[in-house]
């Protein structure tokens, strides 16, 4: 399955939930937000939402900025 995660291609052999993907990217929980194909996925749904072939995922967190 090929995903686009934060603008980069990611090939994965296993089915991934949003939760599982986030865990590969960051240890932080608070301060992280996820959108799949432009739609925000609430944290409460991360474990239940599976990612599908071709999904574009944005995983964002706090950065310094005025």
């Amino acid at each position: 399955m090929r995903l686009t995660v934060n603008g980069r291609s990611l090939d994965t052999e296993t089915q991934l939930s949003v939760q599982a993907l986030v865990e590969t990217l960051t240890e932080a929980r608070r301060g992280v937000a996820v959108a799949v194909n432009g739609e925000v996925v609430p944290r409460s749904a991360w474990a239940a939402v599976p990612l599908a072939e071709g999904d574009a995922v944005e995983v964002l967190t706090a950065a310094q900025g005025g």
Binding site: R30, G31, A33, L60, A63, Q64, G65
Partner: protein, 247 residues
């Protein structure tokens, strides 16, 4: 309320290190600081834990957005990430001036107010646009004194005063402050608060400049509420002529 504890909002952009930023936050005695949202691989760790440790509130921004659509999406991501309805709404018109695109800004503000956000828009020093932003339900307006990071101060103080008179919501001078006297002037013009990033974080000694800004905001606010004397063309003696000796 927005400014119960401090009338100085610190922008976290521009700091050389997290340690320098932490010192500046402490010296500023602020309880509200801005953060941006970026991809996890680019953002770097440690910012949010540090802010949590200091007990300051987070004001997420939509920095880098050029359209209402992008800003609205970013705001929803920020609400999810930081569990706050506060949003510093930025919709930029071009990358040379970083001045707001008023049309897109108003559109985004209207949508986010309807979505339940407490919207604090970064706007231009246009009193009419400020009133339109207030009319759609923004919680404050944040006019630029001059372009972001320019340090040019308040280029049109008259407009800032007009904005103060045009809206019943807090006015926060955002962008352009270069040094402490600029912050004091903003407060003397009637602003409820100032938002400062570069002037502190890019100064030679951010902690010292943060302290300077804290004092300037306090002084400017006190001067505003104390009520300044009117400007006069000619002198007005402070010493009475009564009892003056005749030689």
């Amino acid at each position: 309320m927005l400014f119960d504890k401090s009338r100085l909002i610190l922008g976290t952009g521009g700091a050389n290190s997290l340690a320098a930023l932490e010192e500046a936050i402490v010296a500023a005695e602020t309880d509200l600081v801005t953060v941006a949202l970026r991809r996890v691989d680019a953002a770097g760790p440690g910012l949010l834990p540090m802010l949590d440790r200091l007990g300051v509130r987070v004001l997420p921004n939509t920095a880098g957005c050029y359209t209402a659509g992008d800003a609205v999406k970013t705001a929803h991501m920020a609400r999810e990430a930081f569990e706050t309805d506060l949003i510093k709404l930025e919709v930029i018109g071009d990358d040379r001036t970083l001045l707001p695109d008023g049309v897109e800004l108003l559109r985004a503000a209207e949508t986010l107010v309807a979505d339940g956000f407490t919207v604090l828009p970064y706007t231009s020093d246009d009193p009419i646009l400020a009133r339109r932003l207030a009319d759609v339900g923004c919680a404050a307006v944040m006019p630029a004194g001059s372009p972001i990071g320019s340090g040019l101060g308040i280029s049109n103080p008259h407009h800032i005063r007009l904005i103060r008179q045009s809206v019943d919501i807090p006015v926060v001078l955002d962008a352009g402050i270069g040094t402490a006297s600029d912050a004091a002037l903003a407060m003397e013009l009637g602003c409820d608060a100032v938002l400062i990033a570069s002037a502190i974080t890019r100064s030679d000694d951010p902690a010292a400049m943060a302290a300077a800004m804290r004092h300037a905001v306090l002084a400017g606010r006190l001067a505003y509420t104390a009520g300044r004397i009117p400007r006069r063309f000619h002198a007005l003696a402070s010493t009475s002529d009564d009892g003056l000796a005749q030689w």
